[in-house]
Amino acid sequence: MNKSNSNPASSDTPHGRIAEKANQKERRTFVQYGIFILFGGFYAVVTFLHPEFLQLGNLYDVLIETSIISFVAFGEAIVITAGGLDLSVGNTAGYAAMLTCYFLTVLGYGLETALPIGMAVGVVIGFGNGLMVSRLHMNSLIATLGTMFVLIGFLYGLTGGTTIHIVPPEFMFLGTGTFLNIPIPVYVMAVVFAATYLFMEKTEPGRNLRMIGGNMEACRLSGVNIKNLTLASFVLSGFLSTFSGILLAARQALGNVDLGERFVLEAFVAAMLGTVIFNGKNVITGTLIGTIFLVSLINAITLMGAGPQWMYISQGALLLVAIFANYYSKAMMLKIPVRKS
């Protein structure tokens, strides 16, 4: 049926095989550098149209925003690498942040109690998601969508929909404070980035996680506990998303019910870009670059004075670009036949 898929260079002869390989490599580099050309072109156009984009204050904003979104993006990237998808990250972040604010302000606990509670909630939610996916064999997309709506209900239930305004200054310091002129969230991002990078690239569980995403059956047959690893990927994603929520609440100095809602799409787009940039390798670094690009895009749209409606359009378009590049680069890299339709 798919005549267009059969490769013109026959791979039966050695000569054909070499030619095919070269051809493949060429296309792969094109996809890889295509993304960087896109990024470069974008920055060139933006700086040309709006030179204020490069001002120190603006770059500072981009940096802080990147650091806040990066945690959810890392979590989502880990889940995607392991072959799942987590749609509840945004509301997990929101719920953790709200709970922290609630314990700090309404119940009057100190930071040393409220922060661990907020983070533990993320772990619990991730554990629930992981159980549903790894033990009940549910589709992760639907299971986490269910979790997301349960959390929306919980968020409204916690405060009845009102915003928590007053937060203690030591909590605000987490979001707005600086050390050596660099904002605190950036330090947190650096530490978390280094930790997730080392985990994914240098440790055995991290390698196995990547293997699961590649071929789960082969991974199971080689003696890896795929159930617990899948579970772990969701726990990590839940845990990391609480960082984003709590830091954003600390930065805004308020907690409201739709605090983390936008994170879902942003994390997803950044993580998809992340899997494309280095051809499915080094996903965490790729995700960081993807996050920076996404935040710059949103920043540039705001500079151009376009309304919030263009956020949806631009992110939808960027998502299409990312999946297009992702699918074709993967098809070339793994040499899988392009999906029949």
């Binding site: 589709n139 997309l141 269910g146 997301m148 709506f149 929306i152 209900g153 949806y312």
Partner: protein
């Protein structure tokens, strides 16, 4: 083939779990809830579930062939904004209706072009299309709610056809057509076949791409029709009307898999799922429960329905990109 013993309670629960839950819910709310069991209220439940049901029929078609189409969350809002806007600008009802249906047609074609011809994964493509539609909606209506004052448009939804309220007629008409086409015609069986084994279908000589394209277009038009009725029911285009339908439509389809045939999408099940959701909402209101318990209940029911329908699966389901 393995013989199934019908007497096994687990088997019956797997096959009819949601149907059972539905009747339990109705009996429970009728006894406990004040004013739940009245003709007016039951009629309202069916009328409210009309637009949800019609969108869910479109989604069921796509799910049957093994893909997913989330673009309805955007299409519903976009269609609503265009309908309200065009009626306000003084275009006739016929023109506005045609515009709405062509929006469904176009989004269906865009989905099909990207999924069938460029072979991109359906989940991601339709999410992107959903966001593009939401953006287009915002650009068109500038974030303002537009009310519909055109009387002939409003009688479409408030009127009666014979003794029956019009929306109920629309929903059952769409249901019967979809159900008949899917179960009684050859092409309907091929759609299910696409989901079961696409290679077998192509080997037999069916033009799978054409069939898939057709399904996406039909689904797009059904989403547009659902959005059209939703807008008329609200008598205006509310911001992001589709976002509120997003989970309910999916939940209705998945409840359907746990209603009549375990793990298989089917139209009677989807219909029952749509009624189930609004029965719960109405029942919660009758009991005087807090509004935020509704998303909690919906989420839990979705999880339960999917857990039941994936009970026979022995491997971890991976999302393919």
């Amino acid at each position: 083939m393995k013989l199934q013993s019908i007497s096994s309670t687990k088997e019956i629960f797997n096959n009819y779990g949601a149907t059972f839950g539905f009747f339990v819910a109705i009996v429970f709310f009728s006894i406990v809830g004040k004013g739940f069991w009245s003709q007016q209220n039951l009629e309202n439940i069916i009328i409210q579930s009309t637009s949800l049901g019609i969108c869910a029929f479109g989604l069921t078609l796509v799910l049957l062939m093994g893909d997913i189409d989330l673009s309805y969350a955007g299409v519903v809002g976009l269609v609503g904004a265009l309908l309200a806007g065009w009626l306000k600008e003084g275009h006739s009802l016929v023109q506005a209706t045609l515009l709405c249906m062509s929006v469904g047609l176009v989004t269906g074609l865009i989905n099909a072009a990207l999924i069938v011809f460029l072979r991109l994964p359906s989940f991601l493509v339709t999410v992107a299309v959903m966001f593009l539609c939401m953006g287009a909606e915002r650009v068109y209506n500038q974030g303002i709610t537009t009310w519909i004052t055109n009387n002939s448009a409003l009688t479409l939804i408030r009127g009666h056809i014979g003794p029956v309220p019009a929306p109920i007629v629309y929903m059952f008409a769409v249901f019967l057509i979809c159900w008949f086409l899917q179960t009684q015609t050859r092409w309907g069986h091929y759609i299910r076949g696409l989901g079961e084994n696409i290679n077998a279908i192509t080997e037999v000589g069916i033009r799978a791409r054409m069939l898939k394209t057709l399904v996406y277009v039909i689904a797009g038009i059904l989403f547009a029709f659902g959005g059209y009725l939703e807008t008329l029911r609200n008598s205006g285009a509310v911001m992001y009307a589709g976002k509120q339908l997003m989970l309910s439509v999916l939940t209705a389809c998945f409840l359907g898999t746990a209603s009549f045939k375990a793990g298989k999408y089917n139209f009677p099940g989807t219909l029952l799922g749509a009624f189930f959701l609004y029965t719960l909402m109405s029942g919660f209101t009758a009991l005087g429960l807090k509004f935020y318990l509704i998303p909690v209940a919906q989420g839990l029911i979705l999880i339960a329905a999917v857990a039941i329908s994936s009970i026979r699966r022995e491997k971890i389901e991976q999302v393919q990109f």
